[in-house]
Amino acid sequence: MLFLSKKQDWLGNIRGDVLAGLVVALALIPEAIAFSIIAGVDPKVGLYASFCIAVITAFVGGRPGMISAATGAMALLMVTLVKDHGLHYLLAATLLTGVLQIIAGYLKLGGLMSFVSRSVVTGFVNALAILIFMAQLPELTHVTWHVYAMTAGGLAIIYLFPYIPVIGKSLPSPLVCIVALTAIALYLHLDIRTVGDMGALPDTLPVFLWPDVPLTLATLQIIFPYSAGLAVVGLLESLMTATIVDDLTDTTSDKNRECKGQGLANIGAGLLGGMAGCAMIGQSVINIKSGGRGRLSTLIAGSFLLIMVVFLDAWISRIPMTALVAVMIMVSIGTFSWRSLINLKHHPLSTNIVMVATVIVVVWTHNLAFGVFVGVLLASLFFANKISHFMYVESKLDEENSTRTYRVFGQIFFNSADKFSAAFDFKEAVEKVVIDLHRAHFWDITSVTALDKVVIKFRREGADVEIIGMNEATSTLIDRFGTHDKPEEIEKIMGGH
């Protein structure tokens, strides 16, 4: 299945895909270089990775039209690995990342994305945008005023050039920005840092390269924590981006195939001397905006990127870093969800806390996986808390028979069990207590234990306790929702709500 694709996915939109692929390739070059610098490796590592990942996902990815390459989210995770152990451990970690992602694909872990709520996704992209922006700051501190002027000018070109009639919408403005700033720097002989100062650029096509690391348990101990983090973050960003592309194009994608595709792409990147990567939100949006829809757009982007870099390496090394900074600031502005700031006012507090907490944890730890973990955890706790409000107990006293009847309604689980226990009046002296559970749902052992305790307490006070409707109430005590997911079963369990 991994290599099957419909003819329409390749040839349904040739013109649009080719043009969009070229636009994306041009935008990928500065990004790949910038992310290599973040990771602390030569620009060629990021460029080879972007080529491999884009080309491989074009064939095996689950989401046609999505752009995958070397990314900031992944680069941030490898910084310490590269610093402490060097490039070859990064390549080994990249291979392992790919293996882990393929396993995730076969285990169908793509479905776990449903636990990642909207606010966590928003927090993720905002945090990513902030990190990309922060990664540019070293280029903007302790520098001459030329750099600030060039960066501001670059941003002005990027955002104002498209307003020029005719050529504005047919030439990618980031390319215009790079060409213009390079020309200015060369003409004025400005002494500012260039891409060539940051490390080696590719001068040949990538070659097969087995990571030069000892195949020992010690190596695995070093790379596994990094690979696990890379695999998680890579899949998270890829699946989020796939959803964004799904929405923009009003089509569907195969999320588990995407997991496997990302894995294969990373293995390919690792074997050709590239770093791990994943889908890119910004570039995928640019691709769709430029009219790219099919697999062809991703293939063109990857292959054109390599051709450009290999044949124009002399020129690319002269690009001033300020031009890259301007492009990266654009990516960060475009990735950030500005609407989420306005929405803070309208959304419920719990949602806002989840979003902001995700951002804070990511910016603090520089690890998107931790942020998502905290976000998902918080969102689940808030949800459990909300559901526990849907529980109440009403009671009626039959003075003649000295009988108190409690009728329990709603969801009883670990979070609402105390509230459930507190609803009974143990001080009341009655002969008999009836607890009617027809309309209650017991979801876990905590709630069942709470019920047992209530019964024991009443008994100790000298009352007879009768429980009715127990079967209906505990039929919700299901661990796996396999045989119970038919409409009539759900009606039986949740009946009355």
Binding site: V23, I158, L248, D250, R293
Partner: protein, 289 residues
Amino acid sequence: MNTDTNLVLACIDGSSLTEAVCDYAAWIAQRVDAPLKLLHMIDHHHEAAALSDLSGNIGLDTQEHLLEELTAVEQQYGKLRLHQGKQLLQAAKERVIRRGIVEPITNQRHGSLVESLIEIEDSLRVLVIGLRGKVHENQPDKLGAKLESIIRSLHKPVLVVNDAFKAPQRIMIAYDGSKAADKAVEMVATSPLYKGLTCHLVCVGKDESAMKQLLETAASKLTKASGIEVITQILPGKPDQVLCEYQDKHTIDMTVMGAFSHTRIHDLLLGSFTAKMLLNTHKPLLLLR
């Protein structure tokens, strides 16, 4: 979904064969006394971009704006297609009513034709479809874009219409002794559709006694069913050529045969007999899988 069963389903797309498709569907529906449903699909070509802006930058909430923009463009386009489809269906409905169908059902759906047909397969009795749709309308050497996929994925009879309607008098069964061919004989023998028609049972191959035997059995099956006059024939030569020649010579109005009994790979290498028949014949083909 709906609860209709036993439907005669006519797929229309506004191409030149649409009227013939309606006529044949109406003819079948009347003869077998089954409900007639007219289906028009709006296949949004999401794989092609509606707009393209090569400025290559992303700014404040580009993603949201892009979504709004794309939605607006596609909404307009969608409304247009919806409206055109409604008109097509209305015209088709009037046409089949004139042909005596009392209450034709019309249905318009979004999505790909093949997928929707698979979904509603159980409610079908027979599918009527044109040899070519809009895409290949003026290319006589090409089959319809989705025809083979449809025939391969459905397990119901498919009538492929390739010319203006003419009420069939003489039909031909292309018989080769295979399971699909026996099924074809079975169907012709039992369905009220073929009552009173002449049936040519034709086999292409060497004139062997075994073949003759098979042909005789099939013929007797047919004659047992009331009102079908059977003529058997064994002809030498290349099946598709011979059958088409025979068709012309005896003014056959419709051919019944099994379809695509080989895998796609086999057909890719050796060429499909069904595809050749579809391209060469001038009369409608009723295909069985």
